[in-house]
Amino acid sequence: MGELAAFMILSLVTLIPAVVVVTSSNIVRAALSLVPTFLGVTGLYVMLQAEFVAGIQVLIYAGAITVLILFVIMLTEGGTGVRTRQLNDQVPLGAMAAVWLAFVLIVIFTRTGWPTAAGVLPAYNVVAVGNAFLSDYVLIFEVTSVVLLVSLVGAIVIARRED
């Protein structure tokens, strides 16, 4: 019961700011609303006893990515405009896509047989995460590193071109 209540509250904490993100006409507030959304998701991770993922979620998403977004907004001339339109003429098309996606997701969620028995958690998640990365998922791990390296090099190339 307590778990359900916690889930409900965390979902609201995640979803209400998410609505603000896509509707607010003040772009700084929109970007800022990402923070409670990320923190709500962090709460869900904590409920799943994935403390390591929760910590990384705050460090990377709430701490780094949103700060960078705010940086870009504040350094753009006229970027902190208070009346930015978030909608354009493609609203009906977007709405149709959203309804279709929601329909597909609901069908998948209701048709899938979810395992209800709880699995056994390793005593120390961090070791388990590390082992998984370097054994079963080593290929994905390495490919992700290459993607990050490429974007790093790309950023340097773009920055160099200006001087």
Binding site: R29, E51, A54, G55, V58, L59, M74
Partner: protein
Amino acid sequence: MIEIAIVAVKSALLLFILLTACAYMTLLERRLLGKFQVRYGPNRVGPFGLLQPLADGLKLVFKESFMPAHVDVIVYWLAPAISMVTALFVYAVIPFGPEVMLFGQRVPLRLADVNVGILLVLATSSVGVYGIILGGWSSNNKYSLLGSLRSSAQLISYELALGLAVISVVLTAGSLSLVSIVEAQRRVWFVALQPLGFLIFLIAAVAETNRAPFDLPEAEQELIAGYQTEYGGFKFAMFYIGEYVAIVTMSALLTTLFWGGWWGPVLPGPVWFVLKTLAFVFVFIWLRATLPRVRHDQLMALGWKVLIPLGLLNLVVTAVIVVLRGT
């Protein structure tokens, strides 16, 4: 039930001690700076000026709570609160001593032993950046905005160096929990095993707390007071509390990660912890009195071209040694 009561009492006590310590740190800093500069410092309010923090606090509380024109009201009020709350939150996971027997109860001298403790500390401090960036932006003042942008650029850059030093310690101890990290230093303190890591952490910690010689965000001569220019009264005090708590936090982390936490001969654990933390607080003030401020490009170059490569090197060497020792 009794456990909840114990945690509540410990939290209240901890908050009281921290806020008092912060108030007296301002006095300590001003008195020490006076000594370093061969003058008196504040010594008139009470014996040795001991009532000065109280007088300052009262003055700040009773100041008019003004707001400049065209500010973003919600964000303007939120920013100092974020600064202060995130700074205080870290103390939930810092261990002050081993378990002790009090009134027939086993009381561990910490609020929580989270098994990703150090990660939580880093995550919280990365959220603390919002206090500065939002305070600067919402005040609708270009000096504030410039100060906050400088400050956040500095915090983000030095967080990496700080993180790399921490990861080396985590590898050496084999755990992310601060309690286990202290336990692992029972025989030899990590400052002996990780001297380079300690230096990187110390420099990055000074930069993280925006202290001299890295206090560019509030360089008075060019930016007035940076992100806090448009703040007054208790909102200003909250920024200050956040800043001073951060200094105590960094000193406590230096103690915990490198100088053996509560371990030490003769004296009981918590006393050692407080003594070591105070020693680092003194180092912070000493640095401010000794070193001139660096330029912004020097600061960024030091962070990205020296500290981060050194941190990576230290990490690789540590990892290799840990693996070799394991086999």
